[in-house]
């Protein structure tokens, strides 16, 4: 996984396999009784759906796989979920809070 070069904007698509980098931590904060994301000099407060999406970002699942899991669980329209997922993850990737694992060369 290449974490060093980031000269171009990462554009996420259904086949991308997202993962949180080491310096971005999704954590349940017992004091505040809510999920939080810790990032460089920032604390983000994700909503419940964002938390579910991020918990599925393991660098193995593609975004399309994540969408399938959620579509089945909530019996919801996959297209709608994919649109929301991509928007959320692209926003995080733009801030370097999310990486995508590139396909190893065959």
């Amino acid at each position: 996984m290449d974490q060093t070069a980031r000269k171009a904007r990462p554009i996420l698509e259904a086949a991308s396999r997202p993962i949180l980098p080491r310096h971005v931590k999704l954590r349940f904060d017992k004091t505040r009784d809510r999920w939080i994301i810790l990032a460089p000099e920032r604390v983000l407060v994700p909503d419940d759906i964002s938390v579910e999406v991020l918990q599925l970002c393991d660098g193995v699942r593609r975004i399309s796989d994540i969408v399938a899991v959620l579509a089945e669980k909530y019996a919801a329209d996959p297209d709608l979920i994919q649109t929301d997922c991509l928007a959320l993850l692209q926003d995080l990737a733009d801030k370097a809070f999310l990486l995508t694992v590139t396909e190893p060369s065959p």
């Binding site: 974490q3 060093t4 070069a5 980031r6 000269k7 171009a8 904007r9 990462p10 554009i11 980098p21 080491r22 310096h23 931590k25 904060d29 004091t31 505040r32 939080i36 810790l38 460089p40 000099e41 920032r42 604390v43 983000l44 407060v45 990737a93 733009d94 801030k95 370097a96």
Partner: protein, 394 residues
């Protein structure tokens, strides 16, 4: 701090942390703490945010004292610690402190001038669990940058340390403190941040208290420079979306509305000085007559946060005079900066003159414009002996 970091912009995303059940509380559990480990620093930046009267090494908290402070912070529910100074890498125990932060679950950021870092030390810090490095730059090239920092070869060392930061896999923020004498290099500083593979750039115009106030006539930009800066930043933010996240702190003498300093006094953050004073912000000691509790006293940090006079005097909106009291923005900017109000009006309880509604705003704006046009460029360098004028430095 070596430089002025803008805690203002950093935590914009967490305004919800103070709300429960739709009901906004005046303050919550602090999110982050700025740990000023020392006031010692090899650089002498004329806009340093440290107080004019700095704390000497012999008064600094020990390793054990900082570790005990971190235990308490984690217990309260503080999430992040920013190791700053002075220059935090002056402390030989920095890696040990980072390791302890990691152990107790605090997310750690290092805010550094970087001139004393080696690759081995960065690797040790990363191994100890450090999550992020912020490196300051004083300009885009050696000549100007080293003159502003008052430190030979400093700029070159920073660039080297920035590359090592990325090589050991740590995310990098470049902090560029901007003023009249370096704003013309902003486009090159933006290019530099991209070339160094930084994720984020803070374009932070100097805020005028402490050392910066002492140097104001050498630092304050013209209004035309500010307008040009606004344009450069907006263009770069658009062009570099997804490549470099640019935070921008405007010089508030020329602003219409004051900055939301520290996310509101005593609302989300606090600062611990090298000798252990618990401060609502890093410049709070410039407010004369205000007393601050210390972690060396017999009170817990939680008690100090909830009950101390320093935190409660300007917390929330109850203390506000007009025009703040009836202002629709009072829960957005919380009346601006108390330290600036003190510095410019003589009372920290007045409306921040950066606000267009302040009766002093027009005067401040005019004074800034005059100083920018007529002020001399000579710096007074920051040091422990009250400052040294640039032309007295050999």
């Amino acid at each position: 701090m070596t430089d002025q970091t803008p805690p203002v912009a950093d935590f914009q995303l967490v305004t919800r942390a103070g709300e429960e059940g739709g009901q906004r509380t005046t303050y919550g559990i602090p999110l982050a703490v700025l740990a000023e480990l020392t006031h010692r620093c090899p650089l002498q930046c004329p806009y340093c945010s440290n107080p004019l009267e700095m704390e000497v090494a012999s008064k600094e908290l020990t390793t054990a004292e900082w570790c005990s402070v971190m235990d308490e912070l984690a217990e309260i529910g503080v999430l992040q610690i920013h190791f700053s100074g002075g220059e935090p890498t002056v402390r030989k125990d920095l890696t040990e402190l980072v390791r302890h932060a990691t152990k107790v679950g605090l997310y750690s950021n290092l805010i550094t001038s970087a001139v004393m870092l080696t690759k081995a030390r960065l690797q040790d810090l990363a191994d100890a669990g450090l999550s992020h490095v912020q490196i300051s730059v004083q300009g885009a090239e050696d000549g100007l940058a080293d003159r502003v920092g008052g430190f030979k070869n400093g700029h070159a060392k920073k660039l080297e340390a920035a590359r090592w930061t990325r090589e050991v896999g740590l995310p990098l923020t470049i902090n560029a403190v901007m003023h009249r004498q370096n704003l013309h290099q902003l486009p090159q500083i933006i290019d530099l941040a991209v070339a160094l593979d930084a994720d984020r750039l803070e374009v932070a115009n100097v805020q005028y208290y402490g050392w910066a106030l002492k140097n104001r006539e050498a630092l304050i930009p013209s209004f035309a420079q500010v307008e040009e800066t606004n344009r450069i930043v907006a263009e770069a933010q658009d062009r570099l979306a997804g490549v470099l996240d640019i935070d921008y702190v405007v010089p508030d003498y020329y602003a219409q509305r004051p900055k939301q300093c520290m996310g509101g006094w005593g609302r989300q953050f606090f600062n611990i000085s090298p000798a252990g004073k618990v401060l609502p912000c890093h410049a709070a000691e410039s407010i004369t007559g205000m007393e601050f509790d210390s972690v060396r006293g017999n009170k817990s940090i939680r008690w100090i946060w909830d009950n101390s006079e320093a935190f409660n005097t300007y917390r929330g909106t109850g203390w506000m005079p007009e025009p703040c009291e009836s202002c629709e923005f009072k829960e957005i900017d919380f009346g601006g900066c108390r330290c600036q109000a003190h510095a410019l009006t003589g009372s920290a309880g007045n409306t921040d003159p950066a606000c267009a509604k302040s009766p002093l705003h027009a005067e401040i704006f005019a004074r800034a414009a005059t100083e920018a046009a007529e002020g001399q460029d000579r710096f007074i360098y920051r040091n422990f002996s009250g400052g040294t004028a640039e032309d007295e430095v050999s």
